[in-house]
Amino acid sequence: MNDQVTISPTTLSLNLTINGQAHALEIEPRVTLLDALRERLHLTGTKKGCDQGQCGACTVHVDGERVLACLTLAAQVEGRSITTIEGLAGQDGTLHAVQAAFLDQDAFQCGYCTPGQIMSAVACIREGHAGSDEEIREYMAGNLCRCGAYPHIVAAIRQAAQELRS
């Protein structure tokens, strides 16, 4: 059995794959993926809300699954594939069906929670958890919207789920 462990120095040299691009970083082990994205790589689409796993504003995808960047160490996702809101639209700028549906349905007010809502919604549909409004509400419960745009968010996800199915 392999019993190798790699002991880190004070600073780690990491290679993160974000939206298909490789990024080299020198960071302390305690730096979260959220802070690495925003403060080091200037990918500020991912928002910092509560910074303690309660609001969903920092939702990103790791290997295609939605997670919270504020409770993920950057070091932990080296070797994984990370997608942020900046990586969702097509190369030519064509919006993802969920982004377009949020515009159609006016599914935000201040917009701060929106990147997290959209990343969560894309995964929610892909997981097969957008079958009914009730199911959408349950599986989107981890994304808070203090403006209270919830009915429009549910409508946008319902619309996008239908479009992506057909």
């Binding site: 059995m1 019993d3 462990v5 796993g53 160490l73 070091a75 981890g142």
Partner: protein, 327 residues
């Protein structure tokens, strides 16, 4: 968050060796450890990342038992077809816990190590007294705001509620936790506070949870998890019940019943008095409600959490009635 050094363990053996280092803590999904490090509650000098160990996330379900690898994510277990059919209470406890994002991160092994949500425990700056954080420092919750605190298994040292859902279902069905060198009942793995509130789990330095095993049974196949809370979703239980029921051929006499409670006790709480009162009995609503009251024997409230003593038996009764209806 205090800085720490970061180690990536590539095998269980490496994780065991590293876990024995002073100040070392294991990192799997991170939903408890990183959160508590930010609160200033967890101050590891070394974080050992075990999330990249290969082969520890398998979910293997047969008619006899389920073996769930320690790194299996909560979402994957919740959605697993055989878990849903053979252990519905386990699936229901999982998908009603936390949020979709947290369930994608959190692992089954890490879930068993989840810490209490007691607001005094989580706030060392404002509340230095907490026996769970520092032995003998006192309890800020007793005499404080206690609406979410436990009524069962409490002591003078600690009244913090065990917050999880999965372990409640595991305790109901006699699941075991595999620590590599030894296996023990999940029920015994969790420790009531007594005079040593700082010891929440029967786990020793250098031990690593590798799997959870749940014996299959007719009661597990006909089971449910009901969770009552302040909001409909993404909230900890005010009271919850994992119940499994096996009836005789007549469709009304209890052959086997399992009852465990969450949200009201200091550890996942098996309600054996309720089970014993109903075994061999023909059940109707009155019998069920009377028996469910027995779960609260020995309950002690601290004012604002008094409602739990009335609520928990109703949650148990609702779960049994629901299972009875699906005969």
């Amino acid at each position: 968050m205090r800085d720490f050094s970061y180690l990536r363990a590539d095998s269980v053996e490496a994780a065991r060796n590293a876990a024995a280092l002073p100040g070392a803590m294991l990192l799997a999904g991170g939903t408890t450890l990183i959160d508590l490090a930010k609160c200033g509650v967890a101050e590891p000098s070394t974080v050992i990342d075990i999330s990249h160990i290969e082969g520890l996330d398998a979910i293997d379900v047969t008619a006899d038992r389920a073996v769930i690898g320690a790194l299996a994510r909560m979402s994957h277990v919740a959605d697993h077809t055989s878990v849903k059919s053979c252990f519905p209470a386990v699936s229901e406890a999982l998908w009603q816990a936390a949020s979709a994002q947290l369930r994608n991160m959190a692992t089954v092994g890490g879930n068993l190590m989840q810490r209490t949500r007691c607001p005094y425990f989580r706030d060392p700056q404002n509340f230095p007294a907490c026996n769970k954080r520092a032995h003998g420092s006192g309890c800020s919750a007793i005499g404080g705001a206690t609406r979410g605190h436990a009524v069962l298994g409490v002591s003078e040292a600690c009244i913090a509620t065990y917050p999880g859902d999965l372990a409640v279902a595991l305790v109901a069905f006699d699941a075991e936790v595999d620590l590599g060198g030894r296996k023990l009942k999940v029920e015994d793995f969790f420790l009531a506070p007594g005079a040593t509130a700082e010891q929440e789990h029967d786990i020793r330095p250098g031990e690593v949870i590798t799997a959870v095993e749940i014996p299959g049974s007719a009661a597990a196949r006909r089971s449910t998890y009901i969770k009552v809370r302040d909001r409909q979703s993404y909230e900890f239980a005010a009271a919850s019940a994992a119940v499994g029921l096996e009836l005789e051929g007549d469709g009304r006499t209890v052959r086997d019943i399992r009852v465990a409670l969450g949200g009201v006790a200091t550890k996942p709480w098996r309600a054996r008095a309720v089970e014993e009162a109903l075994k061999g009995k023909a059940i109707d609503e009155a019998t069920i409600r009377k028996a469910s009251e027995l779960a609260m024997e020995g309950a002690v409230d601290h004012g604002a959490n008094h409602y739990k003593i009335a609520l928990a038996p109703r949650v148990i009764a609702r779960a049994i009635l629901k299972l009875g209806e699906t005969a």
